[in-house]
């Protein structure tokens, strides 16, 4: 077969470039485009967002008014103990939407189109996780209002409170990348969901989120104290209500950083090599 050389035609798009700075700039721009696309989709299916808000509200009501009376917490009211746990649980469940969303994009053939476009390989994932982060910000803001309605009263001031929220948002963001790997590995969105929730349940319930760990069987206490969700709940609780803070915040940030360092390259690799 003979090879003819054809000059690249004049393009309306930006010229292709291997320059690192250019590539970084386009990666940021592509991520923004995908983030915007995912947020737009969110406004087009408000049911999903409404359900994402109703579910944690149900948990607040359930624990605050049904189970709460039977749970003893030292030094603070149960609702004060509960709300940081609810925040963390909510953002963790929110991170599942990363896996479901990506599995849907794969299923519908959108990822195929993206992979044939001259866009950054990381942008589909970064855009998805960023959109889910923004969604989480919205949900946490609403949950804060709900908390105040049911007598949640943080004691450490606005800045510490915001630091607590920031900590859990970062944690959820790092989890999103882990769920991105699941979304890219699952055959469809149902499978992604089926894989994701059983992973999250032990992490959110065998934790210090709803019940003091001291009341659990001794064999469970070690896991329930030091697993990443518990550590983040404890750190958030300390930031909002006082108590030893730095040690927990440090541990939570370590988990967040650890997840990111492991999961970001893994997820991007999955995206690139997915057949």
């Amino acid at each position: 077969m003979t090879t003819g050389t054809i000059a690249a035609p004049t393009l309306t798009g930006a010229p292709h470039s291997d320059n690192v700075l250019h590539r970084a700039r386009w990666a940021a721009s592509d991520t923004l485009t995908i983030t915007k696309r995912n947020l737009l989709a969110l406004t087009r299916i408000p049911e999903a967002l409404v359900f994402g808000i109703i579910q944690p509200i149900m948990f607040v009501l359930l624990f605050r008014y049904v189970f709460g009376g039977a749970i003893q917490t030292e030094g603070t009211s149960y609702v004060n103990y509960l709300m940081p746990g609810i925040f963390v649980q909510t953002v963790c469940f929110g991170a599942v939407s990363t896996s479901i969303g990506l599995a849907e994009d794969l299923q519908k053939g959108l990822i195929e189109r993206f992979r044939a476009l001259p866009m950054a390989r990381s942008a589909v994932l970064a855009g998805r996780t960023t959109a889910d982060l923004i969604r989480n910000v919205l949900v946490v803001a609403i949950m804060t209002a709900v908390g105040f309605l049911v007598d949640f009263r943080p004691t450490t001031g606005v800045l510490a409170y915001l630091a607590g929220i920031l900590l859990i948002l970062l944690f959820a963001y790092s989890l999103s990348w882990g769920f991105a790997v699941i979304g890219l590995s699952a055959a469809n969105s149902e499978t992604a969901q089926v894989i994701s929730f059983p992973l999250l349940f032990p992490l959110t319930f065998a934790s210090s989120a709803f019940v003091p760990v001291a009341d659990m069987p001794s064999w469970l206490q070690g896991f329930a104290t030091y697993q990443p969700v518990s550590v983040t709940v404890t750190a958030c609780r300390a930031l909002m209500l006082g108590g030893p803070t730095a040690i927990w915040v440090f541990q939570s940030l370590a988990w967040t950083l650890g997840f990111l360092v492991l999961m970001v390259p893994f997820a991007v690799h999955k995206y690139r090599t997915r057949t």
């Binding site: 090879t3 292709h16 696309r37």
Partner: protein, 350 residues
């Protein structure tokens, strides 16, 4: 003439429970500014070839060039030169038509103003202006395909890949889409088109490769392929299997091709339709056989396949067309390949 697309001994094997050789040394060249058809049944490797050429999939071996650039070494450059429209309308159904086109424009790194102008132009060109600001959930199948094709054209690619662009469309939408594709070619775009319909390849493509089990089994223009095949197919339906057998024996002398019996239906490819039909009818009359159906028709892909391979194209995964499965093309093809490769369960999805 220089080639806009070149595939040289492409190989790709999907590993898994059943190892599938999706591409088993596929080579072809597409001249600049022409339409090339890759014709084959489900699971033949068409989609895999497109996915390799559009940088989505890395081949295990061989070489693929688009406008002279190696698709594995210069993937990002190639991506900026091509457009891809898929078998399954790969558009975001939560966005409006305009938003979909603008998203693809931004991801092609067009300027902001250009993104807006180009989206408007394409919506006009594809008769989607009125529907441009509605979400895709309200679009018909034909509208989605048109938008999918429009999305592939946002960055004015010089090489366009269309993977089964009209599969599953009604005849009217199919015809509309064909007209659009024809107008593109008039504009100098090189098009690689995969299809399972000979009619589609016949109408659009100037050259074809017929592909089966990951190998190219025939090359040429649609006219050449049909000429090799014989011009017409004579199809006769009978009342009993015995009559069908007898008819096949009678028709064996009609032309150079051997008749095939499929239940009570006998088919034979003939060179001179009307003459052969009369001869056929006369021979049936002498045996007092009265056919229930008697048809002359143009050869289909099935006939091409039958002539080239001795078996029917639709033996593999004929249930695919009516399927509502939304698995992306790559995965579908692999599944089909697996199904086809498994002797006990043709067409059954694992």
């Amino acid at each position: 003439m220089p080639y806009a697309i070149e595939a040289d001994s492409l190989r790709k094997t999907f590993k898994g429970k059943h190892e599938v050789r999706a591409l088993d040394g596929v080579s072809f060249g597409v001249a600049e500014g022409t339409v090339f058809g890759l014709l084959g049944p489900n699971g033949s490797g068409k989609t895999t070839a497109v996915r390799v050429l559009t940088t989505i999939l890395k081949p295990d071996g061989g070489k693929a060039l688009v406008l002279g650039h190696d698709v594995t070494k210069k993937a990002n450059l190639v991506r900026s030169l091509i457009g891809l429209a898929g078998q399954y309308a790969a558009v975001d159904e939560n966005l409006t038509g305009r938003e979909n086109l603008q998203m693809v424009g931004s991801l092609n790194h067009l300027g902001r103003a250009q993104v807006a102008t180009r989206a408007k132009e394409l919506l006009d060109q594809f008769n989607l202006s009125d529907a441009g600001d509605r979400t895709l959930k309200t679009y018909s199948g034909g509208m989605r395909r048109r938008l999918d094709l429009a999305a592939a054209l946002v960055a004015r690619p010089t090489v366009l890949f269309l993977d089964e662009p009209t599969t599953g469309l009604d005849p009217q939408s199919r015809n509309d889409l064909w007209e659009v594709i024809e107008s593109l070619v008039g504009g100098g775009t090189t098009v690689l088109l995969t299809t399972q319909y000979l009619e589609e390849a016949d109408r659009l493509a100037s050259t074809l490769s017929v592909i089966d089990h990951g190998r190219v089994i025939a090359n040429g223009s649609p006219a050449e392929l049909k000429a090799d095949l014989g011009a017409t197919v004579l199809e006769v339906g009978l009342e009993s299997l015995g009559e069908a057998q007898r008819t096949a024996e009678l028709f064996a002398t009609l032309g150079s091709h051997t008749p095939t019996v499929n239940g009570t239906v006998v088919e034979v490819t003939v060179d001179h339709g009307p003459e052969s039909a009369m001869a056929g009818l006369r021979s049936l009359d002498t045996e007092k056989i009265v056919p229930t159906v008697f048809t002359l028709r143009e050869p289909s892909l099935d006939d091409v396949f039958l002539a080239l391979t001795g078996r029917r194209a639709e033996d593999e995964g004929e249930n695919e067309e009516v399927s509502t499965d939304v698995t992306p093309p790559g995965r579908r093809e692999r599944r089909r390949d697996r199904a086809a490769g498994s002797p006990t369960a043709p067409g059954v999805r694992p």
